[in-house]
Symmetry: C2
Subunit: 406 residues, 2 copies
């Protein structure tokens, strides 16, 4: 089984790369701290006798050979990048638990038929470069590599430049890596498992996600002299649009999620009525059709709402990740592994996007969740219990062994 | 009288320092472009035989001596800094018209009893460093120089550092300059004169202005997993507060102005429910007591509004510029100068703050307004007609001559 103390020590050790005063991690993709943690993972790969490959999107694969050279690898993985206010577990847990699973296999001398691999996906978070799950997206053909390379961060640096700068543009063309099946272990990032006192979630799928860039154009004017009736205030219009979006989302039921996370105002001066606002919108629902209806309704009413303020609105969809249903056999392997380990387990749908969502399009895939405190994630206070962390890693290990036997 | 073509040529020439593609000017205080236009003004001072002094706040004074060395100077002035989306006239017009008035006096050989001076005040706009009218504020004792020097821009550069960097920290202690009376010529920046077809506004005072820093603190959370009921979304709360502020302002009548011009969100990531929002608030009313009532009402209701969203609000007043009533004698000199020049004229209250508002606390002061197109200002499309520009400069010249005779 998994060496629990060493897994917990790895989590603590790597948390220093981008560690924050509040006990979280700020390790934006392709920054200096991301390079540090990648170098660390490379060192671990060498130490356990694995073969490291880096592909053209910077994805790191650590390969352990199996007994049958003809078989494609079983792959475990997640990501090591974080949000600006990230915690110590989101993504990181899945990679470090996969590493501990590789070590457990090596140590036990148990010979798998399939090769086993661990992958660290580049830019899962989508915070510095939109959208999220970018490199598993390129790996599975959802975007082209050229699209990904051209994406800019807030400072105008492209993904391609940033990848070169940290020295992680690898030789292997992204997507040419064979995969037999894919398993991803993650904290739930929501409140369900904790509330029900259940240790393992057998993830049956991922809800649909759409991202939008909204732009509101009004007119800059003097804050002291311009009468209310003459104003075309892009920020006041944005406030009306935000509240309207929230109300529409609530009207489609408690499963609907709508979030404005980024807002930029021009010219951004205390005594100037704002002329331009750009803002993001993240919309989610477990059902593709409902999500499409929510989008349509928002598009119509936001346009009208802005017009009432003398402001024009454009709403551009920049990402569409449809709902995913994982492979029933792989999900069943997770349930059985949990049962074998004596852990409580329930089926669950993921509210967060994961690289597994894209992998599910090209190979049998499933995910394993463990609880996290107060359902809190994308927050420096994110926390998971040591017992759950080790239990989840053992379920991952046994799910992979079951897939090998399948 | 004023040499109209040379005044218009000065406006066109200096518009190149920070000129924008849209025909406006972006010349934030104490930046490289501000240094260029200051250097230009220094060159003009030398050319007309004036004596240039720079004080410890970077204010530039150009001095022409009068026939009676015992008398303090009559001062004309305004500012050469602009908003990020500034036009070619706001502030600039008053300085360059004052320059043309000095030239007219020199050229005519008319000897004034009082010395006459032109001042270019540092940081009138308050966009890079809050608050506005900063250096006339220090000059007149509204703030200390230490407070001003310590003020930081969005990048953390202090006013004091920026002043040193462009080489405009002068030797004369700010405030030790004698002033007999102060006249400031400006575009109206509002719609009244244009609408009524009147060329000259005799400005009787400036309305009250208060600036605030608002901070909303909620909780960062995952945009995909966090149910609506568990969210403490600082940006959604800010949207509710902005709309509430607008409604309260409107309920206090058409003379009330409320503007949120700056908003910053943390962590600012598409898939993170915002945990922190900082925003500015600019509140104005011609009557101090009404403004105090508006502030009190907003403070109470914004706090409640934020609490309803699970968010805490703090509202810190960072600037309080009470309503100002200019010197009746000086205002009368403006009316008479307009009449002498055959220009239509009406009394008007300024909606914008001006250095004259602070100068009014320490010496007899008045202002002269001319119309601007569509009342538009703090906008690159700001425009004033050549005829009005020259007419206003002549009124300034004759008001100063009247003050000399007084
Ligand atoms: N797991 C995770 O937080 N991924 C980020 C993508 C998303 O926004 O759901
Ligand atoms: N004249 C002018 O626009 N000054 C800026 C100060 C203010 O906000 O009113």
């Amino acid at each position: 089984g998994i060496d629990g103390p060493s897994l917990l020590a790895d989590i603590a050790e790597t948390a220093a790369f981008g560690g924050t005063a509040k006990g979280g991690i700020c390790r934006l993709t392709l920054g200096a701290e991301d390079r540090q943690v990648r170098d660390w993972l490379g060192t671990q790969a060498a130490a356990l006798g694995g073969v490291l490959t880096v592909d053209s999107m910077g994805n790191q694969f650590i390969h352990l050979s199996g007994s049958d050279p003809a078989l494609p690898p079983l792959v475990m993985g997640s990501h090591l990048d974080t949000q600006p206010t990230g915690g110590k577990y989101d993504g990181i847990y899945g990679v470090l638990a996969g590493l501990s699973a590789l070590r457990a296999l090596q140590r036990s001398g148990y010979r798998m038929r399939h090769p086993v691999e661990l992958v660290n996906w580049t830019n899962e978070e989508g915070s510095r470069f939109a959208p999220a799950m970018m490199s598993s997206g390129v790996f599975t053909g959802a975007f082209t590599q050229a699209q990904a390379y051209g994406t800019q961060d807030a400072r105008g640096t492209t993904f391609g430049q940033a990848l070169e700068e940290i020295g992680y543009r690898g030789a292997e063309p992204c997507g040419q890596h064979p995969v037999r099946a894919y398993f991803e272990l993650h904290i739930e990032q929501g409140p369900i498992l904790e509330k029900e006192g259940i240790t393992i979630g057998a993830v049956t799928g991922v809800q649909a996600i759409r991202w939008f860039d909204l732009r509101l154009s009004g007119q800059e004017a003097h804050a002291g002299t311009t009468p209310r009736a003459m104003r075309r205030d892009a920020l006041l219009a944005a406030a009306h649009v935000m509240i309207m979006i929230d109300e529409i989302a609530q009207s489609y039921g408690a499963d609907t999620r709508a979030t404005v996370g980024v807002i930029q105002v021009q010219p951004g001066s205390t005594n100037v009525v704002p002329g331009e606002v750009e803002m993001s919108l993240d919309l989610r629902h477990p059902d593709d059709d409902v999500l499409a209806a929510v989008e349509e309704r928002i598009r119509m009413e936001a346009t009208r709402q802005a017009e009432q303020q003398g402001v024009t609105l454009s709403m551009k969809r920049i990402w569409d990740s449809p709902a995913v249903h994982f492979d029933p056999d792989c999900v069943e392997m997770v349930r059985r592994a949990a049962s074998l380990m004596g852990q409580s387990c329930r089926d669950i749908v993921s509210g967060a996007g994961h690289d597994a969502a894209y992998m599910g399009h090209i190979c049998p895939t499933a995910m394993i969740f463990i609880p996290c405190r107060d359902g809190l994630s994308h927050n420096e206070a994110e926390h998971a219990e040591a017992g759950d962390i080790v239990a989840g890693a053992n379920v991952l290990l046994h799910a992979i062994m079951a897939a090998d036997a399948h």
